[in-house]
């Protein structure tokens, strides 16, 4: 899963994950149907591909008409934002009818490859990084270099890099992002007189102190499997640097490398500070421990603020964060962090894309404006606009700080499951491995790393 199953899966109370649940019956049904369907498309695939690539954009009109949008913004907040933006687009673009097709966040992800090969909508929401480039490589996305040439002045180079495919073409428009950091409550730090730790030793001694003070030093809820990947990312980035991390994620480095051993050893120094039962705790329940002042700190994405917001405005105002402490390696200077970027992409196989291409590109252009992104931001405060001209006056202190920490970073990664291949990062892969590690951090690391590498080696080559 992505690091945002919250969009699709948190119940209003926030405590109970029923995310996967909504998908179950669908997936069950799809087992056979899926196979049939894909089989059926096989013969049509070559034909369709020929048509769509040959057709190009003959339609010069970009106003009026209609477009269809596939959206994974299924939670109430983001959904409202999406609807507001579509209404604004309709009135700004000569009455273009926007057909919105909202799918549960997790389901959308599971079905993405079938969706993109079948009859997708003209434009769809997705993630940048390896996951975007993968579908671009498969010829399932339409490049939009012309759109990007018009709007690129509104984005920093980090964003420009994030929407580029392996072939150098641009395949998406970045619409929002959020940083991963160490979250805490200001009032708790004040009450106990804690200082923000900036290096590894002070981080550890702070946690030892918290334990004495009767707090769970570090909250962790890894039931869904992906939250622990954020901690793996940041420790690896600090110790071994951006380049090694990216190469490790894409298989150019081995999991049996001694640098990886080092990561798990360092991580093992802080695992004793986690709450009990982390493997059965959801990220929302772990967040509640911080909300209720039972836990001191929490390594997560900015979307943790959703949980604080649900608890009340006073709790949200008390939330703060600091970047993961330095660990003394040369890579501290990179100030690297995970800051996943969400994008809008254009599909290739949509039956209407050649007719609607003008409108779809206008829609992409519309999304690259700060004013558009703010409409989403007002409804989903965990997602920060990417456009330079977004009006930051409505940002809270927390959000301003998030922008600051990201613009200060010399290297930005997406997140483990967006930077690595999905079959490796998923539930019967990295999610399981990290749960195995967290269960017993002092286990035989050589054997553990060997298992991970063996699994990587067993995967078929990516096209």
């Amino acid at each position: 899963m992505s690091k945002r199953p919250d969009k699709g899966s948190s119940s209003p109370g926030g405590a109970i994950p029923i995310g996967g649940g909504r998908e179950i019956p669908l997936n069950l049904d799809l087992t056979r149907r899926d196979v049939l369907k894909t089989g059926g498309y096989l013969s049509a695939a070559a034909f369709l591909a020929a048509c769509s690539s040959g057709g190009g954009s003959t339609n010069t009109s970009s106003t009026g008409g209609q477009i269809s949008i596939g959206s994974n913004a299924s939670d109430p907040g983001p959904r409202k934002g999406m609807e507001a933006i579509n209404a604004a687009f309709t009135s700004a673009n000569g009455g273009t009818t926007v057909k919105l097709n909202t799918v549960d966040h997790g389901t959308f992800q599971d079905q993405i490859s079938t969706y993109l090969q079948g009859t997708p909508d003209d434009a769809f929401t997705w993630f940048s990084g390896h996951r975007m480039r993968f579908f671009a490589d498969q010829g399932l996305a339409t490049p939009m270099n012309d759109v990007w040439d018009k709007v690129k002045g509104n984005f920093t180079t980090g964003f420009a890099e994030s929407v580029k495919g392996n072939d150098g073409n641009v395949y998406g428009v970045p619409i929002d992002y959020y940083p991963w950091a160490v979250f805490y409550r200001k009032s708790v730090f004040q009450q106990h007189g804690y200082n923000i730790p900036t290096d590894w030793e002070s981080f550890k001694s702070l946690m030892a102190q918290m334990q004495k003070d009767g707090l769970t030093p570090l909250a962790m809820g890894d039931k869904d499997g992906w939250p622990a990947q954020g901690t793996l990312d940041i420790i690896n980035l600090r110790l071994n640097g951006y380049t090694f991390h990216v190469e490790l994620c894409t298989g150019k480095q081995k999991w049996t490398d001694s640098r990886v051993t080092n990561v798990f050893q360092k991580w093992g120094e802080i695992t004793k500070y986690y709450n009990q039962g982390l493997a059965g705790t959801t990220w929302q329940q772990a967040a509640d421990m911080v909300v209720q002042k039972k836990a001191g700190m929490y390594i997560l994405g900015l979307f943790v603020s959703d949980q604080f917001k649900a608890a009340g405005q006073a709790d949200l105002d008390d939330l703060d964060f600091f970047p993961f402490p330095n660990m003394g390696a040369q890579y501290d200077a990179e100030k690297a962090l995970d800051a996943p970027i969400d994008v809008f992409m254009l599909s290739k196989k949509s039956p209407t894309i050649s007719k609607d291409l003008g409108q779809a590109k206008a829609y992409m252009q519309f999304w690259s404006k700060g004013s558009t992104q703010l409409l989403m931001f007002q409804n989903a405060p965990g997602n920060i606009p990417t456009a330079n001209d977004a009006d930051t006056s409505s940002y809270s202190a927390l959000q301003k700080k998030a922008v600051q920490i990201i613009s200060g970073a010399k290297r930005i990664t997406q997140f483990f499951d967006r930077d690595s291949r999905p079959d490796f990062a998923g539930p019967n892969g990295m999610q399981s491995f990290l749960l195995t590690y967290l269960k017993n951090p002092t286990q035989d690391l050589q054997a553990f790393q060997g298992t991970m590498q063996k699994f990587w080696d067993s995967l078929p080559p990516e096209k």
């Binding site: 996967g20 649940g21 993405i112 982390l278 059965g280 705790t281 329940q285 539930p427 892969g429 078929p460």
Partner: protein
């Protein structure tokens, strides 16, 4: 309907056919001579057998065969399959020798089967026998025990997650484990989570078996029990020597239902953690590999074929028993 058509049309058939058969015999096709069926009957039969057969082939055997075919490829589910995609039995090799999740998943499926058949199913049968005795409030108990069956396993999973959550859950709080910092991580501890899930699944399965069995018990001729009583058999003897043998067909249904429920177990585990960390099942491995973003269609198909082969055992047992009875 079918019977009436055939009898009415069969009766006049000889008269109709006979004059014509002479010509057919002359044409060297004597086989038609003794045919009891008119052309209309044959057409009808062809349609009646052909359409279901066609649907069966298209909807069931087609996809199954496709799965077997896919299992010899490394197809990612994207684009056409080229000859280069065929990798022989490599998926199976990989599955049996190096895929670390396969054997645990198979073991979990077997534990599931053992638990349901040794604990849940007998419990359901026991409850049915109790309720069959018309004790006071039978209807109430019946409704209460049957209630979980009405819920989908997805809902059952959700309900039990509330009970099992480590620090917010009902069980740990009710037993004071949260207060004393001795939290039991029911769904997160890979040594116990399978059993925690099995209790949740049984909660539903017991009611299901109970209803099936109760229906069977109601249909047992009361005079058999009376006769046993007259012969001086006690309750236990009556049940094991008289009622149980009479219920043989129901017993087989129940065994098969239990086997199938264990093999297709999926939703409750998938809802809890997508089948990882001690909850791997063959069905979740298939889903995680082939339907999710992972797109390892070939590899997932190989697991599906293994599951299909295993499933054939109870299916064949059931069909052969049923056809033996009919014969």
């Amino acid at each position: 309907m079918a019977e009436t058509t055939s009898t009415t049309s069969v009766a006049p058939a000889p008269a109709v056919i006979k004059p014509g058969t002479g010509a057919l015999v002359a044409a060297g096709r004597p086989r038609r001579r003794y045919s009891l069926l008119t052309r209309h009957d044959k057409l009808l039969l062809t349609l009646m057998v052909g359409i279901p057969l066609l649907l069966d082939l298209i909807l069931i055997w087609g996809p199954a065969a496709a799965s077997v075919g896919f299992s010899f490829t490394n197809w990612s589910g994207i684009g056409a399959i080229s000859p280069g995609n065929f990798i022989g039995v490599k998926n199976y090799q990989n599955l049996f020798t190096s895929y670390i999740f396969f054997w645990p998943a198979l073991r979990h499926n077997l534990i599931w089967l053992a638990f349901l058949s040794l604990v849940s199913t007998p419990l359901g049968m026991f409850l049915a026998v109790l309720l069959d005795r018309e004790i006071r409030g039978t209807r109430v108990y019946q409704s209460v025990l049957f209630l979980p069956v009405v819920l989908s396993l997805a809902v059952v999973g959700f309900i039990w997650e509330l009970q099992y959550a480590p620090s917010e859950g009902f069980i740990n709080n009710a037993f004071g484990l949260v207060e004393s910092h001795r939290i039991i991580d029911w769904l997160g501890d890979e040594n116990i989570n399978l059993y925690a899930v099995l209790i949740a699944a049984s909660w539903r399965h017991v009611g299901y078996i109970m209803v099936l069995y109760l229906a069977g018990l109601k249909s047992v001729d009361p005079s058999l029990r009376e006769a046993a009583k007259v012969d001086g058999a006690n309750e236990r003897q009556t049940f094991f020597s008289v009622v149980l043998p009479v219920m043989a067909p129901i017993n087989i249904v129940i065994v098969v239902v239990t086997a199938i429920e264990s093999l297709r177990a999926f939703d409750i585990v998938y809802i809890i953690n997508r089948g990882k960390n001690g909850l791997e099942l063959l069905s979740t491995l298939i889903t995680n590999n082939s339907i999710s973003e992972a797109s390892l269609v070939g590899f997932g198909s190989a697991i599906a074929v293994v599951l299909l082969v295993i499933s054939l055992v109870p299916i064949v047992t059931f069909l052969s028993t049923v056809s033996r009875e009919r014969a």
